[in-house]
C-alpha cells in the first residue's frame, strides 16, 4: 500500500501550482478560528449596536443631539482622542463618535492579530512546513490567511451594519459605518501581510504592524487636535483617518472604500513579492551569525527576560515619548480650540484651566489603559515560554518557578514604570514648553504615577490566569482587558449599574489633574494587586507545567 501512494505522489508532484492547497488551508484556519473570531465579532457588534440603541433613547430630538455634539466637539480632548462629530444632527454620528476612529483602530488591531496568527505563527510552530511538504503551494498559506481575514472583516462590517440598523439607525448610514471599519481593517490586513514577511517571528509581526497602527492613530489625533482644524488634512495620511473621511452617517464618501482597496491590494502585492524572495521560516533579512558566547548580562532569569523584552519595550518607549510629546503640545492650543458658542459652557467648567485639566486627565487615563496592554503582553510571555516548551529546559536547572515568574513580573511592572516615566517626563517637558508654566511638571508626573495601581491589578489578574488556567490565559487576560476598556468607554452610555462599571480597575484610577486623589482608592487597588500577585505566584508554583 505504501508503495502505491508513494509512486502516485511522485508522479503528481512536479508542477505544484503556487496556490495549490489554499482551500484546505482556509478550512483549517476557519476551524481554528471558530470560537475566537465569533466572540470578537460579537464584542464589536454589541458595542456598536448597544451605543446606538442607547443614544437613540437618550437624544431622540435633533436639538438634543446638536446640544450634546456641540459640547463634545468643543472639548479638544475628545476631538484628539476620538475625532470630532462631523454632523451634529446625525443620530449615527452622535451615537458612534467614540467607536468611529477608536473602533476602526481596534478593527485594524484585530486584522493584525489574525494575519499574524495565520501566517507567521503557523510558520513558527512548523505547521506550515508540515503542510508545505504535502500539496501546498508557495503562496497558499498567505492567500489562505488573507482570504480568511478579509472574509472576517467583511462579515464584521456587514453584521455591524445590520446591528446598527436593528438598533434604529438608518440603513444606508449603518452600511457606511460598517464600511468605515472595513476601510481601516483592510489597510492593516495589507500592512500586517508585509510585516509578516519582514519580521521573522509572529511577535515581531504583531509589534511592527501594531506600531504602524499606533502611529496612524497618533497622526489622526494630531490632525483632529490641531487648533481650528489647521492640520486636518493629515488624516489622509492615516488609514485610521480614512475611516473618518468616509463620513459615515454624514453624506458618506464611498470612494474612500476604493482608496482602501487600492492600498490593501498594493501592500498585499508587495507581501507576495516578498514571499517569493525569502525562505520558509526566515525573515526578509538573512540571519546573521550572532555571538558565540553569552554577554555577562545573560546570566539569570532577569537577564534573559530583559533580553527577550527589550525590543518591545524600546518600541513602546519610543511610542510613549512621541505620544506624550504630541499630547503635551496640544494642551497649549486648547483655548484656541474652544469656539465662542461653547465658551460659556467651559467657563462654567472652570475656564481654560478646567479644560486643560480635563484634556490631560482624559489623555492619561487612555495612556494608563494603553500601558496596561503592554504589561499584559509582557507577562503573557511567562505562558508563551511554557507553551513553546522552552520553560521546561530552564526549570530543569536550579531556577525555581518563583524566580522565573518574578522575573516576568519585574519586566511587566518595571516596564510599565519605565513607560510611565518616559511618557510623564516627555509629556511634562512638552507641556511646560508649550504653556511656559513649570507647574505642569508636578501635575503631569502625578497623573503618570496614579496609573500604576490599576496596571498592577491587571498584571495580577493575568498572573492568576496563567497560574490557574494556563491554556486559557491568553484569552482570559485579553478578554478581561477588553471588557474593562469597554466598560469605561461605553458602559456609562449603556447605563450599566455602577457596581458593574466599578469591576474595572481603571474605574478606580483618579482622573488627574482635576479630581482629588483618594489615597484609600489607590491603596485599595494596590492591595488587590498584591493579593492577586501572591495568589498567582503560589498557584504557578503548585501546578503541572503544561505545554
Amino acid at each position: 500500500m505504501a508503495t502505491t501512494t508513494l509512486t502516485r505522489r511522485v508522479a503528481a508532484a512536479p508542477p505544484l501550482a503556487p496556490l495549490a492547497g489554499t482551500a484546505r488551508l482556509v478550512r483549517l484556519a476557519l476551524r481554528r478560528d471558530r470560537v475566537l473570531v465569533p466572540i470578537w465579532l460579537a464584542v464589536f457588534v454589541v458595542s456598536a449596536a448597544g451605543s446606538a440603541g442607547a443614544t437613540v433613547g437618550l437624544y431622540p430630538t435633533e436639538a438634543s443631539r446638536v446640544a450634546v455634539a456641540t459640547t463634545i466637539n468643543g472639548n479638544p480632548s475628545f476631538a484628539a482622542l476620538y475625532g470630532p462629530i462631523l454632523d451634529p444632527t446625525s443620530m449615527g454620528q452622535v451615537s458612534l463618535f467614540k467607536l468611529s476612529a477608536l473602533g476602526a483602530a481596534l478593527v485594524g488591531l484585530l486584522a493584525v492579530f489574525l494575519v499574524a496568527r495565520h501566517t507567521r505563527a503557523e510558520e513558527e510552530t512548523g505547521r506550515t512546513e508540515l503542510l508545505g511538504a504535502g500539496v501546498v503551494g508557495r503562496w497558499a498559506p498567505l492567500s489562505a490567511a488573507l482570504l480568511v481575514v478579509v472574509g472576517t472583516l467583511v462579515a464584521l462590517a456587514l453584521i455591524t451594519a445590520a446591528g446598527l440598523a436593528a438598533a434604529g439607525l438608518d440603513v444606508v448610514g449603518s452600511l457606511s459605518f460598517g464600511l468605515s471599519w472595513l476601510v481601516t481593517g483592510l489597510a492593516f490586513t495589507g500592512i500586517a501581510a508585509v510585516a509578516a514577511q519582514v519580521a521573522s517571528t509572529s511577535r515581531g509581526t504583531k509589534g511592527l504592524a501594531a506600531g504602524v497602527l499606533g502611529l496612524a492613530y497618533l497622526v489622526r489625533a494630531v490632525a483632529d487636535g490641531s487648533p481650528n482644524g489647521d492640520l486636518v488634512g493629515l488624516r489622509w495620511l492615516s488609514p485610521v483617518g480614512w475611516s473618518q473621511e468616509l463620513h459615515a452617517f454624514a453624506n458618506p464618501r464611498w470612494t474612500v472604500v476604493g482608496l482602501a482597496v487600492v492600498f490593501a491590494a498594493t501592500t498585499v502585492a508587495l507581501a507576495y513579492a516578498l514571499v517569493a524572495r525569502r525562505d520558509l521560516g526566515a525573515g526578509l533579512l538573512p540571519d546573521r551569525p550572532g555571538a558565540a558566547t553569552a554577554p555577562r548580562s545573560l546570566a539569570g532569569p532577569v537577564g534573559l527576560v530583559v533580553r527577550l523584552n527589550r525590543g518591545s519595550l524600546l518600541g513602546w518607549a519610543l511610542g510613549a515619548a512621541l505620544l506624550s510629546m504630541v499630547m503635551g503640545g496640544l494642551v497649549a492650543n486648547i483655548s484656541g480650540f474652544v469656539d465662542e458658542n461653547s465658551r460659556p459652557f467651559f467657563e462654567a467648567l472652570g475656564g481654560t484651566q478646567g479644560i486643560e485639566d480635563a484634556f490631560m486627565a482624559a489623555e492619561w487615563s487612555f495612556i494608563g489603559v494603553f500601558f496596561a496592554a503592554f504589561a499584559i503582553a509582557t507577562l503573557l510571555r511567562l505562558r508563551g515560554e511554557e507553551s513553546a516548551g522552552r520553560a521546561e529546559g530552564l526549570l530543569a536547572t536550579p531556577l525555581t518557578r518563583r524566580r522565573w515568574a518574578s522575573a516576568h513580573l519585574l519586566a511587566a511592572l518595571g516596564g510599565a514604570v519605565v513607560l510611565l516615566t518616559v511618557a510623564g517626563v516627555f509629556g511634562a517637558f512638552s507641556t511646560v514648553r508649550a504653556t511656559g508654566d513649570p507647574g505642569w511638571w508636578g501635575t503631569v508626573l502625578g497623573a503618570a504615577v496614579v496609573q500604576l495601581p490599576a496596571i498592577a491589578v491587571v498584571v495580577g489578574l493575568t498572573l492568576v490566569a496563567v497560574a490557574f488556567l494556563p491554556r486559557l490565559a491568553v484569552g482570559v487576560s485579553w478578554g478581561s482587558f477588553t471588557l474593562f476598556l469597554l466598560l469605561g468607554e461605553i458602559g456609562p452610555l449603556l447605563r450599566l449599574p455602577t457596581w458593574l462599571l466599578e469591576v474595572s480597575p481603571f474605574a478606580h484610577t483618579p482622573r488627574v489633574p482635576g479630581e482629588t486623589v483618594s489615597v484609600a482608592q489607590l491603596g485599595g487597588l494596590t492591595v488587590v494587586a498584591l493579593v492577586l500577585l501572591v495568589v498567582g505566584l503560589a498557584g504557578y508554583r503548585r501546578r503541572d507545567l503544561a505545554t
Binding site: A291, T293, G300, E392, T397, L399, T400, R401
Partner: protein, 303 residues
C-alpha cells in the same frame, strides 16, 4: 549507598489518560539505565515528574535523596536534563543558550564546552531559529554534558542525530561515566540502549514490565532453533519451555523449527536424542525480539 533514583508506585493521570500506572524504577549510582518503551508509554512523563515539572498523583519518587517536587533549587544543581523536544529562542544564539543554562547551573566548564562544541561539530553563532532539529538537540546536549551534574536525565537524546554524531554522543557519555556520572536514558531504540546501558527497564502503558541487566533480559528471550532430523520424536509439542513447534518434510527426513526459552535448551536437546539429528542451527537470542514482543503486545492491546 542509596540508589540515585528510586521510584515506588508512581501514578500520574492527565484527565482520563493514565500516563503512569504504579510505576517502579530504581537507578543505581554510576550506571547508564536504559528506559525503553513505545510511543506514549510514559517515559517523558516519568522524567518530568523526576524534575518536579509535573506533580505525581500518587507514589513516591526520590532523586539523589531529595524530593523532586520540593527541593528544586538544590536538587537541580546536581542534575542536568535534555528534553526530548528541544525548543530554543528564535533570536538567541546556540552559544548564548549554552552559557545561559550553564550559568543557571552555577558555572560552565569552558574547556569542556569548547571540546564538546568541536566534537559535536556545532556552530554556536547561529540563531535558534536557524538550527535544524539535530542541531537544536546538540545545543541541549552540549549544555547538559558540559555541566558538572552527577545525574543526567536524557530524553531520547539521539533522536535527531546522524550516525556519526550518535557515535560521538556514545563516546562522550562513556567519558562522563568514567567520571562517575549516572545516566537515565530514555529511548525507543534498543540498539542505543544496548550500546550504552548497564541496565534496562522496559515501560509500557505507564508500568515497568521488565527490568534488569542486559544479560538478565537476554535470559528472558527465546532461542530460535532449527533441527533437521530423520524421525520426529514424539511429545515435542508438549515440552515445557518449547514453543511454536513446526514440522515440515525436508529431504528424506523432517525439519523442526521452534522457539525455546533459554533455560529449556537442555530439555530440547534431551528430547532430540536418538532422533538422528543431522543438522542444527540456533539463532542467538536478541533483545530485539523481547522488545518487539512487548511492542506488539502493545499494538494488540490498542486494537
Amino acid at each position: 549507598m542509596s540508589p540515585v533514583i528510586e521510584i515506588h508506585d508512581l501514578s500520574k493521570s492527565f484527565g482520563t489518560v493514565r500516563a503512569l500506572d504504579h510505576l517502579d524504577l530504581t537507578v543505581e549510582r554510576g550506571e547508564v539505565h536504559g528506559f525503553l518503551g513505545p510511543n506514549g508509554a510514559g517515559k517523558t512523563t516519568t522524567l518530568r515528574v523526576l524534575l518536579g515539572l509535573l506533580r505525581a498523583d500518587g507514589g513516591t519518587a526520590r532523586v539523589l535523596d531529595a524530593d523532586p517536587w520540593r527541593d528544586v533549587a538544590t536538587l537541580h544543581r546536581r542534575l542536568a536534563y535534555v528534553p526530548g523536544d528541544v525548543a530554543l529562542w528564535p533570536n538567541l544564539t546556540g552559544g548564548e543558550v549554552i552559557d545561559l543554562l550553564g550559568r543557571l547551573h552555577g558555572g560552565t566548564d569552558l574547556t569542556r564546552r569548547a571540546d564538546l562544541l568541536e566534537r559535536f561539530d556545532l556552530d554556536p553563532t547561529k540563531k535558534g531559529r536557524a538550527y535544524s532539529k539535530g542541531n537544536r538537540q546538540k545545543v541541549a546536549l552540549v549544555a547538559a554534558l558540559a555541566s558538572d551534574a552527577e545525574l543526567l536525565l536524557l530524553d531520547e537524546p539521539t533522536s535527531g542525530l546522524d550516525p556519526l554524531m550518535e557515535e560521538v554522543f556514545r563516546q562522550v557519555v562513556a567519558e562522563r561515566l568514567a567520571q562517575g556520572v549516572t545516566v537515565l536514558l530514555s529511548s525507543h531504540i534498543l540498539s542505543e540502549a544496548e550500546a550504552l546501558s548497564h541496565r534496562v527497564s522496559i515501560i509500557r502503558h505507564g508500568r515497568v514490565v521488565e527490568s534488569g541487566t542486559l544479560d538478565e533480559l537476554r535470559h528472558l528471550t527465546r532461542t530460535a532453533v532449527t533441527v533437521d532430523v530423520r524421525a520426529v520424536p514424539t511429545g515435542l509439542t508438549g515440552l515445557p519451555g518449547v514453543h511454536d513447534v513446526r514440522v515440515e518434510p525436508h529431504g528424506t527426513g523432517s525439519r523442526v523449527t521452534c522457539e525455546v526459552d533459554s533455560d529449556a535448551l537442555t530439555t530440547l536437546v534431551d528430547a532430540l536424542a536418538g532422533a538422528g539429528v543431522h543438522g542444527l542451527t540456533s539463532a542467538p537470542p536478541t533483545l530485539e525480539e523481547l522488545f518487539l514482543r512487548h511492542y506488539s503486545d502493545d499494538l494488540a492491546g490498542v486494537r
